[in-house]
Symmetry: C2
């Protein structure tokens, strides 16, 4: 289990490399939901997502001798860009394995941070075998996108800033995919504000974390198919353990609600957020009675969307 002092140290360690993002409120959405919502804008974060927190903490924690060989991961998403930037900030190499089907903008972002990219077939197996080869050829340190203590402690700093800036809240909500942000958030809340409930939001169409949480047994994803493309991954053993111990509930939302919530944030808050970021608000729209009259903090996880392929 990560200790609270690890989170405190992570926050000091990464402070120079990440933004302290603002917390926004929106009277129109409060009025629609009958609750008081406080949105932490990690869409304004470096690389456009909270992932830079965990990646930076993990990269900075590597021993000097080990770090010289660089870092590696497989990802087509925000973790790839985050690790690439974190490595460049430390002056070491990042080796990123990406599916050859990755959109051009994501390739360009990763390449723009100076990472070495190795393309592979778009299957989990191809990603893992390619990564193994890259790691054995380069001696790079594999930084898992979420099932990694240093990454979790880095992600935990977002909720720490949120609570520092908002004061007491009744509930904190984040979306759950692999569970890095959720487990980090839960550690922070248990230490800073034990009475605050931690509720995760997950797409119904990718509900493996929900099923794992309710059964107590890590469940595999069942052909996830959701507009919230940042939440397709499944929990890891480490994040699952923390989530089982510290999270109060996981609630699912349907695709229509996710798209409606995303559009509300775009139209009413004038913020560009990716679909994954809208899942907590989607849960609130589907279950207003659970949030009515309550103060709820929400982490808007990222803003990297393909403007040519919007869901509305």
């Amino acid at each position: 289990m990560p200790q609270w002092k690890d989170v405190l140290e992570a926050h000091e360690r990464i402070g120079a490399w990440v933004h302290r993002t603002p917390v926004f409120t929106c009277r129109a959405i409060n009025s629609i939901t009958g609750s008081e919502l406080l949105f932490k804008c990690e869409n304004f974060q470096k690389v456009g997502a909270f992932k830079i927190r965990g990646a930076t903490n993990a990269v900075l924690l590597l021993d000097k001798a080990f770090a010289e060989n660089g870092v590696a991961t497989h990802s087509s998403g925000n973790h790839a860009a985050a690790l690439a930037l974190a490595a460049r900030n430390r002056g070491i190499k990042a080796h990123i394995v990406m599916p050859e089907t990755s959109p051009l903008t994501k390739r360009e972002a990763v390449a723009g941070y100076g990472a070495d990219i190795t393309f592979c077939a778009p299957t989990l197996e191809a990603r893992e075998t390619t990564l193994d080869r890259v790691v054995s050829e380069t001696g790079a340190a594999f930084i898992h996108p979420y099932n990694n203590l240093s990454v979790i402690c880095g992600q935990a700093t977002a909720a720490k800033e949120l609570l520092e800036d908002t004061g007491p809240v009744d509930i904190i909500m984040v979306p759950v995919g692999g569970g890095g942000l959720l487990s980090g958030t839960a550690i922070t809340v248990r230490n800073m504000s034990p009475a605050t409930r931690v509720i995760a939001a997950e797409p119904k169409n990718a509900d493996d974390a929900f099923r794992s949480f309710k059964t107590g047994v890590l469940q595999p994803p069942l052909k996830p198919n959701t507009v919230a493309d940042g939440l397709l991954t499944s929990l890891g053993p480490l994040t699952f353990k923390i989530i089982l111990e510290y999270v109060d509930d996981i609630i699912c939302a349907g695709e229509e609600s996710i798209i409606r919530a995303m559009r509300l944030i775009w139209e009413r808050m004038k913020l560009i957020v990716e679909p994954s970021s809208a899942v907590p608000l989607a849960v609130i729209l589907e279950n207003p009675q659970l949030f009515k009259g309550k103060r709820t903090g929400i982490i808007l996880t990222g803003g990297n969307v393909d403007l040519d392929r919007l869901p509305f």
Copy 2:
């Protein structure tokens, strides 16, 4: 000519009713343009646009006896919503004349603020005659969207906040349509930072302000046809006089640059801005040599876009 003390008083008067919007920077866009850009986010303003500043100042300045009959205007855009909200805040009626072709979302926004809406044919003549009728029937005070001293002094407060928050800048840029924001900005800059250049940005396809400025004679619009639909109006005698005296230059940008600039702001800053707001950055993209190495403040004027009709 409006006096500086009118602007200072306007700022005090409207303070409780408008947001003090933040100033954002973006390293990626600075690096693309080779300059330091400071964006004042009036897209986060109440009603989603700076127009609430001028409307609020004008409504609050009305004599009590006169105000009791309410206020009126014709507009299909941000001024309509702004005047509706400003009137509701003072507890008086707003009568808005809108073309019957106005998008549903705009009608709903104005109706949502409790205004009386009168629809008319979508011509300037129909708008003006309908407004005349509404004014004579109700005794409401006509608040012109820009050719009005109180409105101009209200809009001037955006640049005041920008300069207070950024300190000295070399240039301030705003888009120009009717010239309310531009003339207000120019008054503020001449009084707070006389060495700062005021440069207006206008779509090439709606360049009547440019032609008026260069010839010194108020020119009519020539079938304006631009994606920047907030800038279709032409200068008024009052705004033109202030602009001729205080503005340093007006530079035009093409439609492709405006769309590219809008997309850059969406993708890199994660901000939803309307096309009009992107015209200053479009001018910078087309004329980088004029801005290289300089600190330039830009007012992002609004964020009200129809997500079903994006230009990209």
